[in-house]
Symmetry: C2
Subunit: 498 residues, 2 copies
């Protein structure tokens, strides 16, 4: 850490002012306050272009992880009722004499229950900040100089706040669709708030957000198309990403339009949006959801005058060890360039930074071997690197891959499930002790499965340690500790199992 | 390994004869054959007292893990339909105008689908043995001397088989209820085969099998009582076991009769069984399921003449490194005393033994830090030791416990769920580096959650390594890597969370 000039008797209003009360900001604020610092946390939500706004807690709780996972849970439940209940002999009420189960997901009920839950979290976060002696200000912050910000509230009233140190934790916002009529598209900031079902939907983009939204919308019974510019889930293991796509296509009936982007959006008389694609084709949708990346929320922060540099592509702040180019100004979370945009990353980086700033710690945040999960209809979770990256880094001859394709036991009774399969693979160094470079799992409960392996990866896992571990039967996760078929053997990945 | 006299030119029919084609026996047979040994595997199912019999594969696939987990999956599905679908806005078919969801689980359908699946596994196992060049014999084996067994088939035809080495992998069978009328009770060998729903059921015993069966029977809507002689889940962490019991009582409406055992069973005219309990009270049930432990299937094996000793309490074979008192006779799985009665343990011990016998390996089976999961309505999984055992082993002052009580996100929308909670705790040495002695988790998908931590425990996990790992949000498993509240602080375990 460089000397940032912080002294106990600095004379500013606060020891630390955090701008942004999302995952990273709140965590850092609470930790710094617990370590005795005088802390304020500003959080202010600028409405989305479609006019949506929300409460304290940032992206994750309001328009990210939480509503997404709950919609996902609802869609898995709907799918289970349709696909599993006949096989498990579960007859539902007066359907008892019908031959087929059918369901209707009432969007307004689902939306309302999720929003009520989120409001309870917003409230809890306020209480939590107060309990931890963090001053919460529902104000928009802008830098005036390295020790002063202007804070403006909902009513436009402005005040000035000074602090010895600042933490920028303003996160990011959806990148808008830039083609003509692009403003007709909504973003993930809006989808969870829609009063009525989005209906027939086009999701533009092929990363996390687009695929997760496409997945849960299809799972609750909607007609969903994804416009894929190039590939699915750039940066992830190719084979696993393709399996996610194939499952969504075959099982969830999501349509993929590959190699196209929207070139024009036009409102029709019936209220639908006509989309013209780059290949000249057209189709109409009730809703177009743009999920083409996120841009850091730094443009109007006034940081350039402090000499703080950003990546011009995504406006994310450049810096190492959460330190910006201005010595007393720090950054964590989605706003910081070249770090995974994930809630637990923002939280841990925030806590560790607070400990370094106010607790005498020297421990940096370690961004390596962070697990991540994609909550698509078939979930995908991984830790470490992909097969593709391992090969380009170590050479094909130096990489060993063990893989297994299997039918989760829970799926084995249902005809509707029997064409699908789960998949596990590990990527290792070929040379002894076969250090594990990456673990990948596509299947039910992927996040639950992967977390523990994330711990073991930090301990320097080898193939032998992994497979010496006795399995838990019957689970999907036991497939990972019993992986034995190498890809190089050419043997079928589906050949294993007891 | 002691010298067991095995020579390449031994002149016997086989290098290895495995008695028992269950989890351990089949695994050992296939591995030995793959290493070039000439192997036969005998598997013969003696009917249960109630007359039930089944195919190749042993306890796990026919009357254990597989049917149990499938019934459990069906019961979780039924519960989700009833308790979650209203909250998630999922309306089902013509129920759309009713206020409440109701279901009926058709036992015969569920049973039939599970049995069909099991038959497909029985078939697959036969094919697998043939493919691996193991001679499968559907015969009952009995020792004549250390190198000879008598093998008797279904029709009573007898033959003699000789072998250089033998492996006993005959597993165990349910211990019958010994009180008057005890033969009116069925066991876990029978429950999965019942043509009609068991109806109002009494489960006798309070360990794995009794609680798992009580759980899935209640979960599919039956009236279930458990007779608990002393405590739930002896050997497991007390606090966690009590949480499992409380959940079953409060949430699944299982009735617990504590401190009683049945003292008499009597058939009534209406077909029910009247049970008189040790406290003099009586009640009537359609089905009484005895799950009061298992006894190793060694009584008629003819092993005492070979000098092989067994534990007189449970008839399990005594021995270290899977070696019995007869040099050329080995034992793995449930039949071997003082090892966890779990399928993956039997499999791994079998494979490792085969490698030592025929592959030149010296690696013993490691029975330490084996994960296990109880598939009760709220699942419970753990690895390492309980808090109770840690305290008695290391002293209260030397043990630190971190704990957290939390509501899984998936449960947060449903009123029916909101009174329940999940729980995670780790038991550590108090002294740095705070070695982790045990990890315990009570909540959804417990088996999936625990497996990866099982790997990390084998690597010598410390509290710091665990909590330095970045979480996966939103999951239940992230609660384990973010545990921070110590029990000794007296702070509420429910105080954590983001
Ligand atoms: C749809 C979606 C799904 C996601 N799912 C997951 C998931 O499953 N798992 C996961 O780990 N991550 C997920 N993420 C990512 C996760 O939400 C983010 O990584 C995380 O919220 C980043 O936290 P942060 O603190 O950096 O910023 P944010 O949570 O974005 O918080 C920033 C806050 O600062 C406020 N702010 C901005 N400018 C100012 C200002 N000038 N003054 C005052 N306040 C300001 C903002 O309004 C906001 O409240 C998802 C994201 C999205 C969009
Ligand atoms: C209801 C229930 C649920 C369970 N759930 C789980 C679970 O979820 N997870 C888990 O890991 N474990 C579970 N178990 C335990 C698991 O099933 C056993 O640990 C495992 O099957 C033991 O394997 P084994 O090879 O030792 O014996 P077994 O699988 O019992 O196989 C022994 C075989 O030998 C045959 N045999 C016996 N004597 C002879 C003879 N003389 N000649 C020829 N053949 C003979 C038997 O008929 C049988 O087929 C459960 C058990 C039960 C009863
Ligand atoms: N489950 C989770 O943990 C989770 C969930 C959601 C989000 N997140 C976080 O949020 C971050 C942002 O996610 P994201 O999905 O919005 O963005 P992203 O990862 O940046 O991906 C953007 C996607 O949009 C496509 N795209 C870009 N411009 C486009 C255009 N003009 N037309 C059509 N397609 C275009 C890209 O295609 P190309 O590949 O062709 O460039 C890519 O598929 C992620 O990196 C992740 O860390 C996490
Ligand atoms: N999920 C899994 O992995 C799984 C599932 C099922 C089985 N298994 C394996 O199978 C083994 C056997 O399981 P189990 O449940 O049958 O047996 P167990 O673990 O030996 O427990 C026997 C239970 O029955 C009670 N009991 C004993 N005699 C009784 C009597 N006469 N009257 C009333 N109650 C009596 C015991 O009570 P006390 O405590 O008072 O002695 C105990 O609760 C387990 O150890 C386990 O390894 C594993």
């Amino acid at each position: 850490m460089v000397d940032d000039g912080h002294k106990p008797d600095h004379g500013y209003d606060y020891d630390l002012v955090v701008i942004g009360g999302g995952s990273g900001g709140m965590a850092a604020a609470k930790e710094a306050a617990a370590l005795g610092a005088r802390v304020a946390c500003l959080d202010f939500v600028k409405p989305s272009p479609a006019g949506t706004t929300w409460g304290l807690g940032g992206t994750c709780v309001n328009v990210g992880c939480i509503p997404k996972k709950l919609f996902h849970a609802g869609s898995l439940l709907n799918e289970a009722i349709l696909q599993d209940s006949p096989a498990f002999g579960v007859q539902i009420a007066s359907e008892m004499h019908a031959n087929e189960v059918s369901t209707k997901v009432q969007w307004p009920v689902l939306r309302e229950n999720i929003q009520n839950y989120i409001r309870s979290l917003n409230f809890k976060y306020r209480v939590r900040l107060r309990e931890k002696d963090v001053t919460y200000l529902n104000k928009l912050g802008t830098f005036k100089n390295a020790h002063t910000i202007e804070a403006v509230d909902k009513k436009g009233r402005s005040s000035t706040i000074t602090s010895s140190r600042f933490l920028i934790a303003t996160g990011g916002r959806p990148t808008p669709l830039s083609c003509p009529g692009g403003d007709l598209a909504i973003s993930s900031d809006d989808i969870f708030f829609m009063e009525q079902s989005p209906g027939k939907t086009l999701c533009v983009g092929a990363s996390y957000i687009s695929l997760e939204c496409a997945g849960f919308l299809a799972g609750i019974g909607l007609d969903v198309t994804v416009a894929v510019r190039s590939i699915l889930l750039r940066g992830f293991d190719r084979e696993c990403s393709d399996r996610v796509g194939k499952y969504m296509e075959d099982h969830s009936k999501v349509k993929f339009r590959r190699g196209v982007v929207p070139s024009k959006l036009q409102k029709q008389e019936n209220g639908q949006i006509e989309v013209t694609f780059s290949d000249g084709s057209t189709d109409s949708y009730d809703t177009v959801l743009a999920a083409v990346g996120r841009t850091a929320d730094t443009e109007k922060l006034g940081i350039s005058s402090l000499g703080i540099k950003v990546n011009s592509k995504n406006q994310r702040i450049l810096g190492k060890y959460e330190q910006t180019d201005c010595p007393n100004v720090y950054a964590v979370g989605d706003v910081l360039d070249d770090t995974p945009e994930l809630t637990p990353v923002a939280i841990q980086a925030g806590i560790k930074l607070a400990r370094r700033l106010f607790g005498g710690s020297k421990e940096p945040m370690d961004y390596v071997n962070v697990c991540t999960t994609v909550f698509t209809p078939i979930e995908y979770s991984c830790v470490g690197i992909s097969e593709d990256d391992a090969i380009s880094k170590y050479g094909e001859d130096n990489v060993e891959v063990y893989h297994s394709e299997f039918l989760p036991l829970e799926w084995s009774l249902s005809n509707a499930r029997s064409h699908s399969s789960a998949f596990a693979k590990i990527v290792c160094e070929k040379a002894e002790p076969q250090r594990v470079l990456g673990i990948h799992y596509v299947g039910p409960n992927a996040g639950e499965v992967m977390q523990g392996y994330g711990v073991s990866m930090r301990q320097g896992l080898t193939y032998k340690q992994l497979t010496e571990t006795v399995g838990i039967h019957p689970t999907c996760s036991e497939e990972i500790v019993t992986l034995s078929i190498t890809k190089s053997s050419g043997e079928d990945a589906a050949a294993g199992g007891c």
